[in-house]
Subunit: 626 residues, 2 copies
């Protein structure tokens, strides 16, 4: 039942060869990867205004223009830098790979840790903003926003478990629609402004003059919030291998288109905000408020704008669903994350990575109550750490290789590293009280854990490893040691007779072993046992503590058993398999417990003997069992 | 770590013989069993008043006296009836046993189902009332009442997991203290009334005249609520075997003392309520309001009263913690509940029953938000169904046996059965809208499930059973079939070599089996395998779906493997045991999954080969592994 439900949600399993067919072209690649950057339009400007308006009043709108220009400048710099990365790393130039290869393992792990955290934040921030776009209009839904967000996480999870391309197609058309809607809003909005009179909402008076030093700090903080708009760049360079051939070219085109889109849409909406000067607050999204004004006579366009805003933000979250599982699978393959994260599921997606991302982001959303303002505090710092490490790596690469045109390339990446490292420091300091301290703690903790995980895998490999010369020196063509069997017997029934019979076939040295709580029950079982024609001896031990494992281990160590070092001991345990799942609740798990305890001893093998129980109604009706 | 934490909470394990020492005398038996009935004083009167006062105003206090008298009369009848049950059933005369033996299995199961539900309700109602006693005074704690209740459930759970007598001692002294406090309050309260002037709180005017037919229904409803005071009687007769010898005599004395205590305390507090006429409401407990008035100049006595009220109610819940696990263990032994419920834990308590009761009552408390008024709606019906079945059973017993003095005995139990059956109908009808419908549905559903469980156990026994003549006809002194071994091999390492080596010792017919995703990796493993000196053949199959079980089963069924019906196949799987628990997260559970799948086939035995991983740090340092 569970299986067919899973099939219904996820689809039928795909063969490995199908992986090739799931790759992205420009048409589908652009919306799936650009959405993170483009969607930031919906909250980056908003967060800048929320920081500034209460303190410096209408002057904030002027500052917004300047800050937006700075952010767009940063975007151009990052685009130039990352074009070089894509060129050099056709197999995926994520910060992890670039930093690891050019700086060292620790730098790579640091970049990976920082990025993973940021992917989780991308999902949390984007989905919370997406739901905010809806609750700005339908305020009565505000009380359910956390559960609406978790619902969207679940939908994305299912979509992504089904596989890359299919899930991107689901979202691509409405994503293009958002860009269209926003473009229309910018054009109509500016046109309206020059043809109609519009009086901006009256704001509270400024508390501080725009030139006060406190305001400088605020501006930097606002800039930090705005930097959330740039987190999407990394996704493209990380995803180079998921592009169709020629992958590098496609990736570079997508990156360029992305930058141009952000330039136009972020720039345009900044101008609109300046014109309409709506009052920002945490329950009402600026861009939706503007849409209410611009499309006041075209309600259809307003709803179109609202819905596509929601969808583009869901798609931005989807970027993380593409990037995160890919990143952790690469790192898992090298042993920095649990191995399970490197395995493709039935539909070739990295299912465990998708599940991990879903659970982590849902937890963050619930903890922060889907409050975009609070979430943005933790956002962006991770990705800028990754930018810095990646750009530093690229700089070192050019500097070491000194190939053709190395100097301008090194300068671009070096300057990129310098600027992004400044942003890291800026974000960490200005948003320290807003939660960036959590990321500052979480990154080193994650690095520590990842190194621990790696160490474990290395230790396991070392313990299991057999070099070719060792392998060829081993001879198992004859028996090297003796195998002895112990059959724990609770009572004499078909199950225990079957186990004894099996034991006879695998060893000459078998004993049946019973633990009774008192002599009376010991005598009873001995009487029954003696009816059986067998040469297998029955050992009975008494345990007042109603335990089996301890008396069994004591017996093995006793002189009576005469255990020789090197011998293996096989213990045979019964296991019922039942017809109805709920029947499992009716059989106690003592055997499972015994198995776990025994397997702590390296000379003990536990054999599980299945016993298929028949359907209850069948047994009750069948005269054979009367 | 978990283990030592468990030891700390529960105590060290006890031997079976220790069970005898845990039995109850009168001194400890009275408080642990009487508390249910005595504590009802705290809410039964209150619930009567809440039903009546808003409708008939001060006239309610007069009716309270009449209803209390009726309830006390019912108590006397039940006491007489149950003395006869204790006399006849020295090994525990719970309704389940009495109904089963004298009416039939279905009646027994019905009584058991009804009682189990009521035990859960006892815990929920008593603890919610206990916390209400505290929040009546400290109203700011009201918002946390649900979690306070759940906390008390946990404490009781831990106390009971430690064992019967110890947990009773924890509560006995404060329970006696409550009786003392209540007695003092009754005496001082009545004395004060005659020496001081006291003006009752002004009540809202009556809505209906006391003679209206609607009021008759209300009175019956109020009576139903008051019947909650009588649920403790069953606990005594059920618990006969936990009394010290002579158990019957001790139990009868305890029952008598209990009836006298309730008579005095319930009667006395009814008089007090009549005198002080405080206004009942769901957030303020009547008895605590009276204590505020009576002890207005003796604050120490007020707090003493409040705290002991809480404790007696916690003890009432504790009665259920004694009764429920005992009841379900008896029924589990006969196959009507999962077997696990019949097993004694480390400390000889029926741990699983205790856990089940804790979880069920905590869920009920959370669902009903610890609202006593709402919970009382579901209460009492179960126990009165059990009373009816038990008394009917006793009546039939006397009638069938016709021993000495059978007629008066039959009349007492017959009349008891008649009256309690009237109460069942009354409670079901008058509280139908208040939740008794849930119990009316739940009882037959539980009966259905219990019969299903029984059927499964019978079917299992029939399938496993070997009659002595069958047993003696079996001969396993020689091998009757062949055992063949398959060793799934993922790569050639120490673990797989060890498995192959073991396989050689248990069978002549071994194959190594590998599933590769493509030819390249197949060739690689073949090269490594060929280095090993062995006569075991390696079979390689290709699976594009990255699965192991399906290709393995297909291979077993193939002509290539030449499986002969009757042969057993042993599949050897590796299992890592790790040094740190969290390392388990780093190894995937594929093997567990494979084991589960394979065990669905009755001719396949799964052998688990343990592999103890060494400490990571040790391996990394040890030159042996370099």
């Amino acid at each position: 039942m569970f299986k067919s439900f899973k099939r219904f949600l996820i689809g039928r399993p795909l063969k490995n060869e199908a992986a090739e067919g799931e790759k992205l072209g420009i048409l589908w690649g652009l919306p799936i990867l650009a959405s993170d950057a483009v969607s930031s339009v919906a909250y980056a400007g908003q967060e800048i205004l929320i920081t500034l308006v209460p303190i410096i009043g209408v002057a904030a709108y002027g500052q917004l223009t300047i800050l937006s220009a700075a952010i767009i400048g940063l975007l151009i710099l990052l685009t130039l830098s990352y074009r070089q990365t894509i060129e050099s790393y056709p197999n995926g130039g994520g910060a992890y790979i670039v930093a690891k290869e050019n700086i060292g393992t620790l730098a790579g792990v640091a970049a990976g840790a920082a990025l993973s955290i940021d992917y989780v934040m991308t999902v949390a921030v984007s989905i919370s903003s997406g739901i905010l776009a809806i609750t700005t209009r339908y305020t009565f839904l505000s009380q359910y926003k956390v559960w609406m967000c978790v619902g969207v996480v679940l939908l994305l999870m299912i979509g992504n478990l089904r596989g890359v391309r299919e899930s991107s197609k689901v979202f691509s058309i409405p994503a293009y629609a958002f860009m269209l809607a926003l473009a229309v809003m910018i054009i109509i909005g500016i046109f309206n402004f020059f043809t109609h009179n519009y009086t901006p909402v009256v704001h509270s008076a400024p508390v501080l003059a725009a030139s006060s030093p406190v305001v400088l700090f605020l501006l930097l903080k606002a800039f930090s919030n705005g930097c959330a708009a740039l987190t999407g760049v990394e996704a493209v360079s990380n995803a180079v291998p998921s592009f169709k051939d020629p992958a590098r070219k496609h990736a570079k085109i997508v990156l360029l288109l992305l930058a141009m889109l952000v330039l136009f849409l972020f720039g345009g909406s900044t101008i609109l905000t300046n014109i309409y000067q709506v009052e920002p607050d945490k329950d009402h999204m600026v861009i939706i408020q503007i849409a209410t004004l611009v499309f006041s006579h075209i309600p259809a366009m307003f709803y179109f704008m609202m819905i596509t805003t929601f969808v583009i933000l869901a798609m931005a979250a989807n970027t993380a669903f593409t990037g995160f599982p890919m990143l952790v699978s690469v790192m898992a393959r090298e042993g920095f994350f649990p191995r399970q994260l490197s395995m493709r599921g039935d539909r070739l997606s990295y299912s465990n990575g998708i599940l991990l991302l879903s659970v982590a982001s849902a937890i963050i959303i619930v903890i922060f109550k889907a409050d975009v303002g609070a979430l943005v505090g933790l956002y962006a710092i991770g990705v800028f750490i990754a930018f810095t490490l990646s750009q530093t790596g690229m700089f070192l690469k050019w500097f070491r290789e000194r190939g053709k045109n190395w100097l301008p390339k090194a300068i671009i990446n070096g300057f990129g590293a310098f600027v992004t490292s400044l942003v890291v420091v800026l974000v960490a300091i200005t948003k320290f009280d807003k939660g960036s301290w959590m990321v500052v703690i979480a990154v080193p903790v994650m690095i520590f854990l990842m190194l621990k995980v790696k160490k474990h895998y290395v230790a396991v490999t070392l313990q299991l490893r057999l070099k070719p010369e060792e392998l060829s020196s081993i001879d198992i063509s004859h028996d090297v040691y003796k195998n002895r069997v112990i059959v724990p017997v609770e009572s004499m029934n078909k199950s225990s007779v079957r186990a004894l019979r099996y034991a006879r076939t695998i060893s000459e040295n078998v004993v049946a072993f019973n633990v009774s709580i008192d002599e009376e029950s010991g005598i009873k079982i001995r009487e029954r046992y003696d009816l059986l024609k067998t040469d297998i001896p029955l050992i009975i031990k008494y345990s007042p503590f109603r335990k089996v494992v301890d008396p069994l281990l004591k017996f093995i160590e006793s002189a009576e058993y005469d255990y020789q070092k090197g011998d293996m001991i096989t213990v045979i345990l019964p296991q019922f398999t039942v017809k109805n799942w709920w029947h499992n609740l009716l059989h106690n798990r003592t055997w499972k417990y015994i198995q776990r305890q025994l397997l702590k001893h390296k000379h003990i093998v536990v054999s599980t003997m299945p016993l298929q129980l028949k359907d209850d109604a069948y047994v009750m009706k069948n005269p054979k069992y009367k």
